[in-house]
């Protein structure tokens, strides 16, 4: 099984709910025709509004969506590990990377996600939910942007929202130049980098002009090499909603497992 990670600089249903291109793309990476997709809104404190948006986006797509809240673990009917490892895709939301990693460690979710990755479960995420897979990134968990450490599944570093939150960019470039962070990628909103095992396999984008940069340290400075993403055609917008009777069938049939 190839190990797959999709790291988004921003975008997807939490940031661009009217542009489902990246989310639809993530669904295509799973081997199952109707993949089980688990959303982890941990980095934002599991807000109801984000959970509602996840359901609004995925409930009528060809998948089995569910949500895991570490603030509401009381509703779980199965062990956490079993829930995580029974997925085809785990989708991690943005927010505070510091809180995300602290809460995952607390519940041993970090180790479970490494296991999920090794088993071929697709790991996807944006912002904090993208940087967490790398050795390091640039977080605003404490306010001003600063370099921070991730789980290190993928070698190198990632900095997100290169266009949407430009204050991160100089901090990232400086950190790579002085060796605080290893070489990595600077990614715009709307861009997703797909890693198979630990190598960049593909770059995709929901926005025609969105870009990513490979940033490497050379002689105490940095060298930036553009990565041109493949623009995902908006065929996704012509997506046909799942018929009502099918939805009802799924609710009745899968209701118990979905309420996790």
């Amino acid at each position: 099984m190839p190990r797959t990670i999709v790291a988004m600089g921003g975008g997807g249903f939490t940031m661009e709910p009217d542009t489902p291109a990246l989310d639809d793309f993530v669904l295509t990476l799973a081997e199952r025709r109707e993949p089980r997709i688990l959303f982890l809104p941990t980095a934002s404190g599991d807000p109801r509004e984000q959970i509602a948006r996840f359901h609004a986006t995925f409930d009528d797509r060809p998948c089995e969506p569910s949500v895991l809240s570490v603030f509401r673990l009381t509703d779980l009917r199965r062990p956490l590990r079993e829930i995580v490892l029974s997925q085809d895709i785990v989708y991690v939301g943005g927010g505070s990377m510091r809180n995300l990693l602290a809460l995952w460690r607390l519940h041993q979710l970090d180790a479970m996600l490494v296991e999920a990755w090794a088993r071929g479960i697709v790991l996807a995420g944006l912002s904090a939910g993208a940087m967490c897979w790398f050795e390091g990134g640039v977080t605003t968990s404490f306010g001003p942007p600063e370099p921070t450490t991730g789980l290190g599944l993928l070698p190198g570093s990632l900095s997100v929202h290169a266009d949407g939150e430009p204050a991160r960019r100089p901090v990232f470039l400086r950190a790579v130049a002085d060796g605080t962070l290893p070489a990595g990628y600077l990614v715009n909103d709307g861009v997703g980098l797909v890693f198979r095992d630990t190598a960049l396999r593909q770059a995709v984008s929901s926005r025609p002009q969105a870009r990513a940069l490979r940033v490497e340290r050379v002689d105490g400075g940095v060298v930036e090499t553009p990565v041109l993403p493949q623009y995902l055609p908006c065929a996704a917008r012509e997506h046909r909603p799942t018929p009502f009777d099918i939805l009802e069938f799924r609710r009745a049939h899968l209701g118990a497992s979905r309420r996790e």
């Binding site: 934002s44 809180n99 990693l101 602290a102 607390l106 605003t140 968990s141």
Partner: protein, 247 residues
């Protein structure tokens, strides 16, 4: 004048649970001894839920206090409108009010931001600490949480060298488990019913108060191998005499 360290630990109640009964919230405001106390709400245990923050501001209107809140999930957006340094803000308060939710996630998030040390310092300096449920359990050395399914033991910040159990009347499974833990070697401590609150000055229990007649506190320990559960009558804040004394 040096203010003594004080903690008011609710078994349940206040604006989070007792809509229309502000007596426990009024009590903690009065404990500060300040006419218009600075109150900071810390909703970490709920994941900084927006609706919870809104309800706090409704209950703690600017007419009677100077309210603020601290968000540890949105520090890039000012963390609730505070300055860059939450420590400075917290230490300048008269009252820190910790909301309910998951005590495990609460403590983990606090540690990630160094807040456990800031809150201990605030307590030593006489900032009144209060809270319900997770916001009560967190102050004690040990506690029983039932938030993650079956009741289990956790270590709190340890400002109060006891164990703690909340919702004592409202959740029989939790009560049984707490007795079981204490019998089995967990340190003795205090429990509180919903609508009752344990008020500690320093590390000594000063009094128990309640927002209606009936709810109590409990001292739970082991004597000669036997579990001893001693009821602690609460001062009923709803009684007319108390209302007069406060006025």
């Amino acid at each position: 004048m040096a203010r003594p360290p004080q903690i008011v630990a609710f078994g349940g109640g206040g604006f989070s649970m007792e809509s229309g009964n502000p007596l426990l919230d009024d009590y903690v405001l009065a404990v500060t001894g300040v006419e218009r106390p600075r109150v900071c709400f810390v909703p970490t245990a709920s994941g900084d839920a927006d609706h919870y923050v809104v309800r706090f501001y409704r209950a703690f209107a600017p007419g009677r206090c100077d309210p603020s809140h601290l968000s540890l999930f949105r520090r890039d957006r000012g963390g609730g409108g505070l300055g860059a340094d939450p420590a400075e803000h917290l230490l300048a308060q008269d009252l820190i009010y910790v909301g309910g939710g998951s005590v495990v996630s609460l403590l983990g998030t606090w540690r990630a931001h160094g807040l456990h040390e800031v809150l201990a310092e605030a307590w030593r300096r006489g900032v009144v600490l209060c809270g319900l449920s997770a916001g009560s359990l967190c102050w004690f050395a040990e506690a029983v949480t039932a938030f993650h399914g079956p009741p289990r033991r956790i270590d709190g910040l340890g400002l109060l060298p006891y164990s703690n159990c909340v919702h004592y009347d409202g959740d029989p499974a939790r009560r049984d488990e707490y007795r079981h833990f204490v019998t089995g070697g967990m340190r003795g401590g205090f429990a509180a019913d919903d609508a009752a609150a344990l008020h500690f000055v320093g590390t000594d229990l000063h009094r128990v108060v309640a927002s209606r007649p009936g709810p109590r506190g409990w001292r739970v320990g082991v004597h000669a191998g036997e579990l001893v559960e001693e009821p602690l009558d609460a001062l009923d804040l709803a009684a007319p005499a108390v209302a007069l004394a406060a006025a």
